[in-house]
């Protein structure tokens, strides 16, 4: 243990403040989305607060440990991730089309959520160790070899969103560790083209579609053209845009958004919570929340820039990538510029796993920030 009271002084105070304000805003929006007007919101709020408190306790516990300890266990962490994700096919609980939950005693949790943190830790260690070799294309494929097993396992449980998060984190960290932008663009641009070809061929020639479920394909089609089936697959996109757009500058007011209160919005307390925010608090609310996220991400980048070692820096970059992708994909989906994938908005969407994992990720950043190199002179 490398604990020292002085370490607390190094903590960047903005990060906890920004995170707490997101959580508090989230509690208000969840209240509205879960029927505060009818008094049905309490269990949701209780769960959300409990998760936040649990997350904060975990952060505090985490602070006592030096993050560098994880470096020694990187292989174990990786194997644990694969086992966890594999277990879900044996013991998993199905929720709306995906097998995503695992129960251990009284606690239900989503291994794919946990895998995000584990993979950040593993990749940070792996990339840091191979930092000097990253300028070759071969190393990029080697890195991909490690990320593909969890990626495929998560896709197999129909969680395309989280799988894409993992891939995005890998790209960001690989670049952050010194990988060449040219290689990244080559490999992922090529990969993207292949995916587009496979899907096009499926739609036109009805060739079999690996990994993707029909409903996921429908989401993509509906993203391209929501009017194709306004009561079916395009419904969510249309209703979400209506909710946000009708909020105008100042919003309909707390608890007063008809799209939300009359249930036109789907999944409104989880994946589509940003639409509720947009409807009830308008452009002002949307801009404030986005600016808080922006500031948070910039603060995290600042921690990365000042990290004591390459390992810590890569963890921080991974966490930045995690939040950036979540915000981009979730908000983009609500605003109709990204396809629908069910990933939550960090700190705001209702959901215990997401809240705890997001807080742990913040805890890692604080930990690294606290133990940064001293700039005394």
């Amino acid at each position: 243990m490398h604990w020292n009271k002085k370490l607390l002084k190094h903590i960047n105070i903005y990060i906890p403040i920004l995170v707490l304000s997101l959580i508090i805003i989230g509690l208000f929006v969840i209240s509205s989305a879960t029927g505060m007007a009818d008094g049905n919101h309490q269990p949701f709020i209780r769960t959300q607060i409990a998760a936040a408190v649990l997350g904060i306790i975990l952060i505090i516990l985490l602070l006592f440990m030096d993050y560098r300890i994880f470096k020694d266990y990187d292989i174990i962490i990786y194997i644990l991730t694969i086992i966890m994700l594999g277990f879900i096919f044996i013991l998993g609980v199905t929720v709306s089309g995906g097998r995503r939950w695992l129960s251990i005693g009284p606690v239900n949790f989503q291994p794919s959520e946990v895998s995000k943190i584990f993979m950040i830790l593993f990749l940070a260690s792996y990339l840091d160790r191979n930092r000097n070799k990253l300028n070759s294309l071969k190393e990029l494929f080697k890195g991909l070899l490690f990320i593909l097993p969890p990626f495929i396992l998560i896709i197999l449980q129909n969680d395309l969103g989280t799988a894409l998060v993992l891939m995005f984190i890998f790209v960001v960290m690989y670049y952050g560790a010194g990988g060449k932008l040219k290689h990244i663009l080559l490999v992922f641009g090529g990969g993207f083209l292949i995916v587009v070809l496979i899907i096009t061929s499926h739609v036109i020639f009805e060739t079999p579609l690996p990994f993707l479920q029909q409903y996921q394909l429908n989401r993509l089609i509906a993203f391209v053209n929501p009017a194709i089936d306004p009561f079916g697959i395009g419904y969510n996109i249309i209703q979400s845009k209506i909710a946000v757009g009708s909020g105008l500058i100042a919003g309909r007011g707390f608890l007063s958004g008809p799209q939300n209160q009359l249930n036109f919005l789907p999944e409104k307390h989880t994946d589509f919570i940003f639409a509720v925010l947009g409807e009830e608090f308008g452009f002002i609310g949307v801009a404030v929340v986005l600016i808080i996220y922006l500031l948070l991400l910039l603060q995290i980048l600042k921690v990365a820039a000042r990290a004591k070692d390459g390992f810590g820096q890569l963890i921080t970059i991974g966490v930045m990538g995690l939040f950036l992708f979540h915000v981009l994909e979730n908000v983009g989906m609500v605003l109709g510029i990204m396809p629908i994938t069910g990933i939550p908005l960090p700190f705001i969407s209702y959901g215990g796993s997401s809240m705890v994992i997001s807080l742990i990720a913040i805890g890692l950043v604080i930990n690294i920030n606290m133990r940064r190199k001293k700039i005394i002179f």
Binding site: L262, L290, A305
Partner: protein
């Protein structure tokens, strides 16, 4: 290293500029448009149908009313994601007695006429049994909605059916035309199709209201935002005397049945094809009874979708749906002698006691070989004019017709017929009335390509040839004799009232024309008609032999061109000298006027309560 962090910074800032820019586009630039979409989502404006006006008899009995019924609607927008119409319909077919195919058919039909916000009407007038099943299975039938509706209720079923007509769902053509004319109809609305229901549609329908409601994503009502109550339609009070109407229906049905039975036993007798009776006040044109037989049950149409019953009606060769009083045009036969007599008295100086001779029972137009014959095989010898009427002697009337032709050309008889209102609609307040036909030279040239021959006038003098009349025209004509030359427009509605009881329209007798003939002329004709009915040699005397009041009448047995059969006519009014009502009985292929006469006698005796003991026995049944 810092270079890479800086690139991240740039990427992050660009992403957030895009996100905020997109929010700005949705909420500020396109905000108004999305706001409207949200309001459309939230607010559903549903029309509320007005209760249709009721119809009462002149005595105040409720004849046509409305009753509560339940309609089944399908709301596609209420379907939860993942469920299709197929799932719901299969589910419904399982729990109710409706078949899957039937529901699909109803859906396809309903889809064409659905109006926005209302859902798709699948079934009207659900039976209790189906209601219970649907209610029990509500939870597994999302998107299925049962709503209250008013169902037209014809209280006495078949009685008065041809007067009331019926209502039904508005047709595509009607919808287009009425909407173009500025009326507020939408698909699936109930509208008068025939009869009074059609003619007075404008009064009966009332004005729709609306409800502006806030709905949730399932389309369920959460709040009433605004409403305008519908204005109920106006009530109608008919001139129909309901007791008389029902009595008339009974006796005409009995007579029809009797004739049908006789025709089955005797191959020489034609089977009757239908019958009609109209009773009209001679001094006003008010119609007290109007019966057409066979009749139909208008409830079949109101209830909708009972296509088997309706198909049976449509396929019935006796055509129960037509109102024979206004829609059949047939040769009048000897009842037309009222017209010929008028022309003869006015123009040839004929008096009541002018003597005529029928020595052979035959009449020849000079220079023509084919003789015109009487209904008797022999000559009746010397007859006065009134006796000739009472005996319905054709030979005398041929002579009069020929004389009119010789002295005035073919037009005199034709003009007189038109003075009596023949050849054009009477204007009775019912739709689909027909004109009939009073042929003339021009008509003959246009349709036959030949001129008007003396034989045409001779034929017309006894109501044969091309002349066609409707029973209601015959009633108008008969009443004109009784009232000394006044042609009244027949009328069925006495009063139009608002639902609150305020009178908005009141019947006034409408005199269409006053014929330019002296009352002496009509007195002579009346004398002939009295002899027809009250003198034991008259053609209608048997049924009236014990009548304490005097009835004037004229029989008619009209041959149908090219067939051996005849229509039976009898027109009458009474009591003389102060006649109140005219009665016209017509039996399509009724063989002889003798079959029509007793029906009229029965109507007079009922109306004037002539044989009280008999009535009491009937009432006691």
């Amino acid at each position: 290293m810092n270079k890479r962090i800086k690139l991240f910074k740039v990427v992050i800032i660009v992403i957030f500029i895009v996100l905020i820019g997109r929010a700005f586009q949705l909420q500020i630039i396109q905000g108004e448009q999305y706001y409207r979409l949200a309001e459309n989502n939230r607010i559903s404006i549903r029309p509320v149908n007005a209760p249709r006006g009721r119809i009462y008899s002149s005595e105040g009995q409720t004849l046509v009313s409305n009753k509560l019924s339940y309609n089944l609607y399908y709301q596609p927008n209420e379907l939860p994601p993942g469920l299709s119409r197929d799932d719901i319909f299969n589910q419904m077919a399982r729990v109710t007695s409706f078949t899957r195919e039937e529901l699909e058919e109803d859906f396809q039909r309903g889809r064409k006429r659905s109006s926005p916000g209302e859902g798709i009407l699948i079934k009207r007038n659900l039976e209790d049994q189906s209601m219970v099943k649907l209610e029990e299975n509500r939870d597994i039938l999302p998107g299925i909605d049962v709503r209250e509706a008013a169902l037209r209720d014809y209280v006495y079923d078949n009685s008065g059916s041809h007067v009331f007509g019926y209502v039904g769902e508005i047709g595509m053509a009607d919808l287009r035309n009425l909407t173009d004319l500025g009326y507020n109809y939408s698909g699936g609305d109930i509208i008068g199709i025939t009869g009074i229901e059609r003619k007075y549609e404008e009064y009966l329908k009332g004005n729709k209201g609306f409800e502006s409601i806030q709905v949730n994503h399932l389309g369920h009502r959460t709040k009433l935002l605004d409403e305008q109550n519908p204005e109920p339609g106006h009530d109608l009070i008919l001139s129909i005397d309901w007791g008389l109407q029902q009595h008339t229906e009974e006796i005409i049905a009995a007579k029809f049945q009797q004739l049908q039975d006789e025709s089955e036993e005797d191959d020489d007798l034609a089977s009757p094809q239908g019958s009609s009776v109209v009773v009209m006040e001679v001094d006003t044109g008010r119609v007290l009874s109007m019966v057409s037989y066979p009749d139909f049950n208008p409830n079949y149409f109101a209830e909708g979708f009972r296509s088997t019953d309706v198909n049976q009606l449509l396929q019935n060769p006796l055509r129960p749906l037509i109102n024979r009083n206004i829609m059949t045009t047939e040769p009048p036969g000897s009842i037309f002698k009222l017209v010929t007599a008028t022309a003869a008295i006015e123009n040839l100086g004929i008096e009541a006691d002018t003597k005529f001779v029928d020595s052979t029972g035959r009449f020849n137009i000079p220079g023509w070989s084919r003789p015109f014959t009487n209904w008797l095989g022999y000559g009746e010898g010397e007859l006065s004019f009134t006796r000739a009427m009472a005996r319905s002697n054709n030979i005398i009337f041929y002579k009069l017709g020929y004389e009119l032709y010789e002295e005035f050309g073919g037009s005199k008889l034709i003009e007189t017929a038109r003075d009596f209102g023949l050849g054009i609609k009477t204007g009775i307040d019912l739709p689909e009335e027909r004109d009939g036909l009073v042929p003339d030279g021009q008509w003959k040239r246009e349709t036959r390509g030949e001129g008007w021959y003396p034989g045409d006038s001779v034929n017309m003098s006894i109501g044969q040839g091309d002349i066609l009349v409707t029973p209601i025209q015959a009633a108008q004509m008969t009443a004109a004799v009784a009232n000394r030359g006044k042609i009244f427009k027949p009328n069925l509605v006495d009063e139009i009232r608002t639902a609150q009881g305020d009178v908005v329209g009141e019947f006034q007798p409408e005199l269409l024309s006053q014929m330019p003939y002296s009352s002496n002329t009509f007195e002579i004709i009346e004398k002939g008609m009295l002899e027809t009915v009250m003198h034991n040699r008259g053609t209608a005397s048997t049924s009236f032999s014990d009548f304490p009041i005097d009835i004037a009448g004229k029989t008619g047995t009209a041959q149908i061109g090219g067939t051996g059969t005849s229509h039976a006519w009898f027109v009458a009014y009474g009591p003389v000298p102060d006649p109140e009502i005219a009665v016209v009985v017509f039996i399509d292929q009724g063989e002889t006027s003798t079959n029509a006469v007793p029906v009229a006698a029965d109507i007079f005796s009922y109306y004037y309560d002539l044989f009280t003991e008999d009535e009491e026995i009937e009432d006691g049944e």
